[in-house]
Symmetry: D3
Subunit: 293 residues, 6 copies
Amino acid sequence: MYHHIKKLMYTVNVGTPDVKFGRLLLEQFGGANGELAAAMQYTVQGWNCVDDLARRDLLLDIGTEELSHLEVVGALIRMHLAPLKTDREAAYADPLLSIAGGGGVALVDSANNAWTANYLSVTGDIDVDLRSNIAAESRAKIVYERLIDHTDDPGSIDTLQFLMTREITHLKAFTAALESLEKSPFSIGFLKPTPGIVDEFLNTSRGDGSEGDTDMRGPWQTSFGLHPIDANGGTGDGLSVGDINGKIKGEERGKQDSGQKATTSVGKSARQYQDAENEKSGPVDRILEAVRG
Amino acid sequence: MYHHIKKLMYTVNVGTPDVKFGRLLLEQFGGANGELAAAMQYTVQGWNCVDDLARRDLLLDIGTEELSHLEVVGALIRMHLAPLKTDREAAYADPLLSIAGGGGVALVDSANNAWTANYLSVTGDIDVDLRSNIAAESRAKIVYERLIDHTDDPGSIDTLQFLMTREITHLKAFTAALESLEKSPFSIGFLKPTPGIVDEFLNTSRGDGSEGDTDMRGPWQTSFGLHPIDANGGTGDGLSVGDINGKIKGEERGKQDSGQKATTSVGKSARQYQDAENEKSGPVDRILEAVRG
Amino acid sequence: MYHHIKKLMYTVNVGTPDVKFGRLLLEQFGGANGELAAAMQYTVQGWNCVDDLARRDLLLDIGTEELSHLEVVGALIRMHLAPLKTDREAAYADPLLSIAGGGGVALVDSANNAWTANYLSVTGDIDVDLRSNIAAESRAKIVYERLIDHTDDPGSIDTLQFLMTREITHLKAFTAALESLEKSPFSIGFLKPTPGIVDEFLNTSRGDGSEGDTDMRGPWQTSFGLHPIDANGGTGDGLSVGDINGKIKGEERGKQDSGQKATTSVGKSARQYQDAENEKSGPVDRILEAVRG
Amino acid sequence: MYHHIKKLMYTVNVGTPDVKFGRLLLEQFGGANGELAAAMQYTVQGWNCVDDLARRDLLLDIGTEELSHLEVVGALIRMHLAPLKTDREAAYADPLLSIAGGGGVALVDSANNAWTANYLSVTGDIDVDLRSNIAAESRAKIVYERLIDHTDDPGSIDTLQFLMTREITHLKAFTAALESLEKSPFSIGFLKPTPGIVDEFLNTSRGDGSEGDTDMRGPWQTSFGLHPIDANGGTGDGLSVGDINGKIKGEERGKQDSGQKATTSVGKSARQYQDAENEKSGPVDRILEAVRG
Amino acid sequence: MYHHIKKLMYTVNVGTPDVKFGRLLLEQFGGANGELAAAMQYTVQGWNCVDDLARRDLLLDIGTEELSHLEVVGALIRMHLAPLKTDREAAYADPLLSIAGGGGVALVDSANNAWTANYLSVTGDIDVDLRSNIAAESRAKIVYERLIDHTDDPGSIDTLQFLMTREITHLKAFTAALESLEKSPFSIGFLKPTPGIVDEFLNTSRGDGSEGDTDMRGPWQTSFGLHPIDANGGTGDGLSVGDINGKIKGEERGKQDSGQKATTSVGKSARQYQDAENEKSGPVDRILEAVRG
Amino acid sequence: MYHHIKKLMYTVNVGTPDVKFGRLLLEQFGGANGELAAAMQYTVQGWNCVDDLARRDLLLDIGTEELSHLEVVGALIRMHLAPLKTDREAAYADPLLSIAGGGGVALVDSANNAWTANYLSVTGDIDVDLRSNIAAESRAKIVYERLIDHTDDPGSIDTLQFLMTREITHLKAFTAALESLEKSPFSIGFLKPTPGIVDEFLNTSRGDGSEGDTDMRGPWQTSFGLHPIDANGGTGDGLSVGDINGKIKGEERGKQDSGQKATTSVGKSARQYQDAENEKSGPVDRILEAVRG
């Protein structure tokens, strides 16, 4: 259940309204990496995360805070867009918001594209979702930084610095939540990758480029067991792909419940219920049996 | 420049076509986490990455391989959807592909939503983009695993196991590329978060829930300097937000050129050119001056 | 600022999960007339409604409640979709949620179209926005009723009956908020329609139809001063449109502040500030001067 | 069947073309509240409205007129955008229309978002659809008013005043069509809201806000039987939700056929056919039986 | 100006309603190649085509007829979808139309994707637009054929055969309109392609494929002056691209006015006005001067 | 399988970066008629075209070349957009790319709409697909011409002239591929249009227009057997539609294999397999039997 307190999470002050800057700010209101995207991604992930109630709480804590951020950045934008309501020339800074929206904010990005749930990454796998959130927080941080770079208004900078700071807070929290699962960073889900093929780094972009670039080498070709393989442009050979024989069982399980209190057993029983279900459902049953060896 | 070799990167075999499973597979052809999304995300990131030609090469290597994967998964889908062309009942498994597409593949997901570039994350900051790619590979891995869980056809499993394996290869490579930048995981861009506020974990989802969940504690509230703060539902207080005074300079720089050969100087000169530009442009100049101390 | 209490606004109970019904329910989670659409429409309208702080409060009261409804309907859907996680056949009831979403809810409608802010109507004119909300509540009511018609599960019916009931509550509140403005239902904004032309009901669909329909007459042709005009198919004549001579001033003003407490003066001064601004801005100034006579 | 007469419904004159204003005008050509949206919403509603042939005629009368309006506003826009074809600088007022469209109109809004059927509200319930139309006409009216506010060109003002006037005509007609159903404004569909709960206005946005707003009271909390309930932020209690026991029968029926001629019996027999069908279909049958008492 | 006659352009009869087939039919109502797409593409092209009033008339003739087709196919779909209103099981054939739409038609395709103006091709160049229309009619024809292939209902077949037939009528008309321009099929616009390079067919997909395909030869490599060039996969060489030196003037002009009556001079003066404008606008002026030699 | 060579297909040089022009150029990167749309349309068509391996090769040859064009136009855009990275004022030329994208290219059009697969036409009928491609190349050609018209930079013009030239190359190749099928331009698919009705050109837009247009006559009313029919606005009569009696068999077959080598028999056997399948599937069988007489 949600409650709204009229007080903003951060007090917003604006010197001179700057309608062009207000339009830039829309990126964090209704944009791909903005506050609604963050709020919805974490909240829906949280609602789905019924096997790990501790991390569910984490997701709802941060998801709810992002709603408060949406309100803060919305207030900042309204102040900058205020001249749209009374100054005909200013309206050309954002025709859509001026004519259709009466000069207020709307759930659009800086190019006035309507917000879409296509921006969200929700897989229902907590391990994967946390990675999506780490990436999302990184993107939001760099976008706030660029916005700060585009204004000299001290009040706007303060608000944006606050919001940017919180993205790092969340980045830390999501990283801690991922690390406390104690899984290898390359272990995802239940099925293992095929040995051999998993370690072949395929060099498929070759030759010398127009901007001084050439065929490079880097640690990404030799770390974590990787080694480079040259794709032969003339024949298309290069990957030793003949030796796959079905799926491979045995990925390590993460400590999904590391932060749980009384809910550990719930998580376990949920999994047991799932296993019991599988026994009835035939093929899935056999697959899971296989992956556990 | 691109070249196409008619040979598939992995030979695709299908036992009995299964149109319903073919429809599921579309998720990896034209879906949010599918092969076109991967190919386009890495390739466009690579084209934009002119300051770090080594990681640019990495992005184009993997981006190009994903195009080959798109071709492989497309071939697999076509075999499964073949009955759409001749069996009227089968057509109802995917009306859109049957009637509008003549039974072939299309750039849609498993719900027949048209592919959109809204699926892509391209920020132009290599540090951030690599995080987006790590998350994207994780998502693609779990989707392939689920697809394997939904078929018993050995040929389909082999192809999907191959494609799933390569996602882990890329996950390793992107992780190596990120780590070799030698930045703190919580240092993004040039501007620092505000001390104090950055370490406050706000507990804004509270009370006891309907599914046995309660107000949890976890390492995400106490790691990396974090400590929990309780949001007071009645007043909205809880965050010590009064003390922000402008932006803060001095994030560490990453070794963006760690894997570069002769191109290091190009990267540097690009930065110097940028600095020179900034001197002329006023406010940006002053900001960058500030962030360097 | 937002707070989340883990307790659901209405306790959700489901007998036997019904994945097909779960998919229908998505219409109220991520659909055009669903709870997110309601929450966002009223909340964004509220944030923009700075000239009428009383109705702003109304919009935020209801907007926040709709967020709680989103959580309730999401919980109901998750229970119905639970078999997607363990039963391979069930997955075909919703391939997208099964494969990409792991069997959880997502911000999509019953056809798995991603939620888009195109569903929202936010004009920044409180008079108009209230009408949009009355229509939105009516649509949501009929959709809940249809959902109730499609299940026999008592727990699901109870939850849906609760949510449906609240739409009527909101319908009443928005109607009261509109009526208390004490404007004519045909007076919108500042500019008047052109007399004469405004009362001509144009009969442009004529003749006898294939389904027994013929050229009908109804109160909509004779009420509120209207009278019917026959469009002449052969010539296209029919509307007396030659006599428009510019815009017409003088729409009545509504009591936008009828429910306000101490904020009445704020609303007024906001308007005065706007007027002052207009005096400087030239053409808008002259227009507003004209509309006031 | 449709016929086109080359004569415009209103003669369009433009003084000096104003490409920026032309772009604003696109809002009423391909925008969310524009003429195509109106034409399609009413026309598709009309085609679906086979149980009330009189109101079907109304919907097609107005839907067809909106097509003629689309043509008129399109002509106005083309005149304003004419310089896009010959003046390179003018092209920057709308790059998409200049480069991709050759300087003509396109079905996009003022931000060049492609028109989408997501803008439409079509529920197939005449009672509800009329409310959607009343809201749609109100929005279109205010948008035309704002466009008039953004130009000094007398010819453009005349055309826009004509189009704005017709929205009020339609607002009157849709209101008459709704009122002549003689239903309570709070009676929608067949199922009744739960007594008690329906009258609780939940005060969920509380406290003092940053813009001088406080916790307000208004007629929307006390009209039509409503009374305010305070949501308790600390516990989430506040709604008396324990007493719902299934759905409730007995909403009043509207006079859907009030304007019909010979078609009354058709409407009735359509309903009888539906009832007969229900008898065969089990649960729906029982539900309808219940709602009639 | 538009007029609507209630009589359908073709009388629609349906034997037994088939909800699954009704869903397929949506492809031609709100799909990418459906009747609304055709109506809007030709109509908007026609409104923009002010330099060739004869072909403008053609575009509006066919655009208007497609509106009548939209009505016909809508009537056919409604009859097939009728059971959605009364049969709970039937609703699962199209959850969106059942729950949100009440069982009527909506502007969506067979996968329930909302219609979007992204389906339209409108360039404002009559020569190009006619080609887009020829392609659009071909697509619509094959879609109708496939729909006929998916039903045995004689009434449905008759209606679809009528609609399919008309697409060929329009195909003929658009072809005649294109040919009567008397331009070379490879002459588009004002600027010529660069000689030499224009005739090099680049063989960039090479080798032997997995489905028995090999590196083929066909008339498309040797017709109209073309000759094949092998892309060298190892080096990327293959196109003689070093010799471009700016743009080349002199494409032939088409007889855009071949079907015009009194309007020829209007077309000419429009062009003269454009030329006069160009003289003032500098660079465009010089370009047009160049292309005329 | 795909390979990438770092060398661009055409060397790109830019004099002074022009951010506004860079934005226009996006139309050919991520726009409806741009290089990604071309690459994906031809490539997906090619992958689906398993019955005509020769034309499949053609589609993949050109599809792959368009990928190389995407890279070229992307490089051109990046050079023009470079100032977005360092000049705060320049950022307003494209807020989305500046703030969200860091000043690089993105898969959006000149109005910053995200690329969508809705731009593609893929029917799986080679005859029809080639027509779509001819139209697509024509549109791309005129868009490149307009871009050339909007710059004076010699390097940009050279690159655009190269890309524009290649569209004509492809236009020739697709035309040759279509003509070598040796079908009538009005024969599509298997089913014939109904004689009589197919030749009636319906004159449904009549009267005198506001821009000097009147009811025109042109060769499109009298060529290929067509003759004009006047729609009677008052009654809606005009088409002799009473005489359709089911579908009509017997469209001519094209030489789909005219350019094939050893694969002719594969194509034939594919068809034979389809026929064999049809024999089992009942109604489709009977239909195909009918169309062959």
